[in-house]
């Protein structure tokens, strides 16, 4: 039996009928066309599928879509809706060279967002711990860690506007 669910993604409201066995990852990518969220493993081990649900980052591959009823989801597309200025996290990822193949990027950015929301000035160790479970095969992580630190500094610098 399909379940009727209502939820928001990046502020937009959706009402969908979903089979209970479908994951949030499938619904985002296939039904809503929000393909910025990736699927890297399907077992919650790689982090490429991370999105925020009610401001907490979760593995969308392990989240049943039906459980999202009434909740708010934020994906990479919601960091800076197309055409708008980039989010400081995105800017920092670009500037530091933290992006190579880009497949881990959206998950990394969402992890960075949750981390910086909870801890605006993380130490390097805290950043590395905050990215645990996010695998990257290209960068060796160092430039990603640098990007998160830079984003944190920039977000602190422009407090009031961008910090959520």
């Amino acid at each position: 039996m399909k379940h009727q669910i209502r939820f928001t993604v990046n502020g937009d409201e959706y009402s969908l009928a979903v089979d209970p066995w479908r994951t949030l990852n499938e619904v985002l990518r296939e039904d809503l066309g929000l393909t910025g969220t990736k699927l890297g493993c399907g077992t919650g081990d790689c982090g490429a599928c991370a999105v925020l649900v009610d401001d907490k980052s979760v593995s969308s591959c392990l989240t049943l879509a039906v459980s999202i009823d009434g909740k708010s989801v934020r994906t990479v597309e919601g960091l800076a809706p197309s055409g708008e200025e980039l989010h400081p996290i995105q800017e920092a990822f670009i500037k530091t060279g933290a992006i190579q193949c880009g497949f881990c990027t959206s998950g990394m950015e969402m992890a960075a967002l949750q981390l910086l929301n909870n801890n605006p000035a993380p130490t390097e160790r805290e950043i590395r711990a905050g990215l645990s479970g996010h695998l990257c095969r290209c960068t060796g992580y160092n430039q990603i860690v640098e990007a998160v630190a830079l984003a944190g500094a920039n977000m602190r610098g422009s407090q009031g506007e961008e910090v959520e």
Partner: protein
């Protein structure tokens, strides 16, 4: 030192914003109207004859549009080594026999993924199981089961290299030692699982969007296996989530998507699961390496005899190249007056090994470097000094391989020793702490034309417009390493333009000039870069002519493209904006657009590579004496990649290499039970995470490679080699455990300690 405007600058990558926004489209992100979902049925047995396949139940399932087995295909073998057709040993779908667990047997196209998956379970395959073999020793024994009928020895490639007189060399040596090394298989573990989508147009021509490093190779091999003409196949490379050598062949899902699209008239997409990637995906060759080296008392090398057995798994894949290259790499780094190599590529009933970052070098150089350290100790020398004594230098000739042109190897060793405070630390570290060194050399693309292409190795087309912009078209494939950015930087430098002035179309076989062999072997910057320069210079010739005519310049005037202008070097007033100059050329040619082709094929550079990169790395570790756990505290790297085109990209390549090398040294491996891969997820395939990465410092040694674009050569792939030996040597320094059997596990360290107690 040459001065550049665009080269050596941290230009942001051209694809970074799209990737940061999540708007970059990868293959699995795409969907076409009416698209079907494909899934592959894989063999559950390591070695078996296919007696019968019954697809009737599956075909009857609602939503299933078509099922194919080998019977529906032209049964044409393929393989990347077209030059030697007998090495082409693989069918897109298994014919008569399966040879590893995961071998593709049938493919389904259905209206949704779940139905396709359900259909797989309804296909009944009757197998007659055959005896299987899982290691090179068993496989090469007399009477071993034969995996491919054409190859009764199970040894599919024999490669020999010989120069000097090895036996005399050993006789003249003061110190000779022999060691056997075993190195394990590891996964590319690119984050994007393989994905492909095929569409057939009304004329029956196929367009395939696919996650590949080599669109041209896929085009040619797809055409040959389908019995079609190459020009009837168009391969488009969308954004790719990494490859590292694992996406450089035609694969069963690409073939199946194309054939199913043809048979159903609907687009078909296949996307692999991570489990399939681990279970049946390509991997790095495990090798059994026997190395004998001879030295004089003073530490100078006299001879080396290297024998390598490569465990190739069930098919050749890129194994022949790996067999050739591990022999070539065995002769690199140091001067061996006498050298002999025998490499054998051996079939086993395991998933095929293939190309992976380093392409034979990480294995071969692990043996070289560990043996160098052993020899240093036994000859009473410092590992740094023995390397400096034997290091290759510019001008060294390696018989049958190449003459080394630019070479910053000695400088790299010296720089890394200084940065890491090698001499002090080697003497003064506390028990449990250690420091070790590993070095590498690597190719900047290959010369040997195993694919037997009839086209230039790399090509570029530059279209210049009177609005001051240009359009660069190239088949070179950006798979995440950043080649689109680097090629634009090279073109911008050559034409005096800004990055924003250049539009790029890359890796579409129907739109970009023939050809490019793909992204592997660190070939793109050098080869595609040179093709871009070639095209740009032809454009410049036209522009210079126009400006020269317009200002009536003396023929001795030198002209340049700089800051968006085409002008006299001596008197910038004698010049036009780039767009005005293009307009003049166009006018002079009565409207004909200014378009030029460039290409690059290495000439007169031997059979291996046009240029070598070099480097040295030092690792500092701390080993927990009770648990055997190794913590890498710091890494230092000094390397010679010629001119650094994009520093951030080079540093990113380096850090990524360290991550892979760290995994290779300490944690990554496929755990096998016979032919079954047990490590099928990222929970058990232990790839290093952000917390595992050591702090790292790097120095780029300043050299200029005459054959490279703007003096550049290989970077990032060679660095896959030194990390494991550096860590291994550091672990030896810390604990006395000399690892000849990667990976270095805590258990091995503790066992060694136990044995030494006894």
């Amino acid at each position: 030192m040459k001065r550049f405007d665009m080269i050596g600058r941290d230009v942001p990558r051209v694809d970074a914003e799209a990737k940061a926004r999540g708007s970059a489209i990868y293959t699995d992100d795409m969907k076409l109207p009416g698209m079907l979902y494909g899934r592959l049925l894989r063999s559950p047995l390591p070695h078996a004859r296919i007696v019968h396949i019954d697809t009737s139940k599956a075909a009857a399932l609602t939503g299933v549009r078509r099922i194919i087995t080998a019977e529906d295909t032209p049964k044409i073998k393929y393989g990347n080594w077209r030059l030697v057709p007998e090495t082409q040993d693989e069918y897109p779908l298994a014919v008569d026999k399966v040879r590893f667990i995961g071998d593709e047997v049938a493919a389904v196209a259905a209206t949704d993924k779940d139905i396709a998956e359900e259909a797989l379970q309804l296909i009944h395959v009757e197998y007659e199981e055959l005896p299987a073999i899982y290691d090179v020793d068993a496989s090469t024994k007399e009477g071993a089961p034969i995996i491919h009928d054409y190859c009764p020895t199970n040894i599919s490639v024999n490669r020999k290299i010989k120069y000097g007189d090895v036996e005399r060399g050993f006789a003249e040596s003061d110190y000779v030692r022999e060691d056997t090394f075993n190195v394990q298989s590891v996964s590319h573990a690119y984050l994007e699982p393989c994905s492909t989508m095929a569409q057939v147009d009304l004329d029956g021509r196929i367009t395939l969007w696919t996650s590949t490093q080599t669109p041209y190779i896929v085009q040619c091999l797809l055409a040959s296996t389908l019995g079609m003409r190459e020009n009837d196949i168009r391969i488009v490379k969308p954004y790719i989530g990494g490859g590292f050598g694992g996406k450089m062949e035609l694969r069963a899902w690409e073939f199946s998507a194309a054939l199913l699209a043809k048979l159903t008239g609907r687009p078909v997409k296949f996307t692999l699961s991570r489990e399939e990637e681990f279970l049946a995906g390509r991997r790095r060759h495990p090798m059994k390496i026997h190395s004998k080296v001879g030295f004089k008392k003073d530490g100078s090398l006299v001879a080396k005899d290297l024998k390598i057995l490569l465990d190739g798994g069930a098919y050749n894949a890129m194994g022949p190249t790996a067999t050739f290259l591990c022999g070539n790499f065995g002769a690199m780094l140091y001067r061996y007056p006498n050298y002999r190599f025998h490499g054998q590529h051996v079939y086993t009933n395991k998933p095929p090994a293939s190309a992976m970052r380093g392409f034979g070098a990480p294995q071969s150089l692990y043996a070289t470097e560990i043996q160098m350290n052993i020899a240093a100790e036994e000859l009473g020398m410092d590992p740094v000094d023995i390397r400096l004594k034997n290091a290759q230098v510019s001008g060294d000739e390696i018989p049958d391989v190449a003459t080394i042109s630019s070479c910053g190897f000695i400088e790299s060793i010296q720089a890394v020793a200084e940065m890491s405070q090698w001499k002090e630390k080697r003497k003064n570290l506390k028990p449990g702490q250690g420091i070790g060194i590993g070095c590498y050399s690597f190719i900047s693309g290959g010369v040997f034309n195993w694919f037997n292409t009839q086209y230039p190795f790399s090509a570029a087309e530059v279209r210049a417009f009177s609005d001051g912009t240009v359009h660069l078209l190239t088949m070179a494939s950006d798979i995440g390493q950043g080649s689109d950015t680097v090629l634009k930087q090279i073109l911008a430098e050559e034409l005096g333009l800004e990055m924003e002035d250049i539009r790029i179309t890359s890796a579409d076989t129907a739109m970009t000039p023939q050809a490019d062999l793909g992204s592997w072997g660190s070939r793109v910057t050098l080869m595609a870069g040179n093709a871009v320069i070639d095209a740009a210079r032809k454009i410049k010739k036209e522009l210079f002519g126009a400006v020269s005519a317009r200002f009536n310049l003396n023929v001795i005037h030198e002209l340049e493209c700089k800051n968006g202008r085409v002008q006299s070097k001596a008197k910038a007033d004698y010049g036009l904006s780039f767009g005005e100059a293009v307009a003049m050329v166009q006018k002079a040619n009565r409207g004909e657009p200014l378009v030029r082709r460039g290409s690059y094929t290495p000439r007169d550079k031997g059979l291996v590579t046009p240029a070598f990169g070099f480097g040295a790395q030092v690792a500092e570790v701390e080993v927990d004496s009770e648990t055997g756990k190794v913590e890498v505290k710091h890494m230092w790297t000094a390397h010679d990649c010629g001119t650094v085109i994009n520093p951030r990209s080079v540093e990113g390549q380096l850090a990524g290499s360290i991550q892979m090398g760290l995994g290779y040294a300490l944690s990554e491996r496929f755990v096998m039970d016979g032919g079954t891969t047990l490590t099928t997820d990222f929970a058990d395939y232990k790839m290093p995470m952000a917390m595992d990465m050591p702090p790292s410092e790097v120095v780029h040694v300043d050299t200029y490679e005459p054959e490279g674009p703007m003096g550049a050569k290989e970077c990032g792939e060679g660095l896959a080699s030194p990390t494991a030996p550096a860590i291994s040597d550091a672990v030896y320094h810390a604990t006395g455990y000399r690892c000849k059997d990667l990976p270095i596990t805590p258990e091995k360290i503790l066992k060694d300690k136990e044995q030494k107690k006894k």
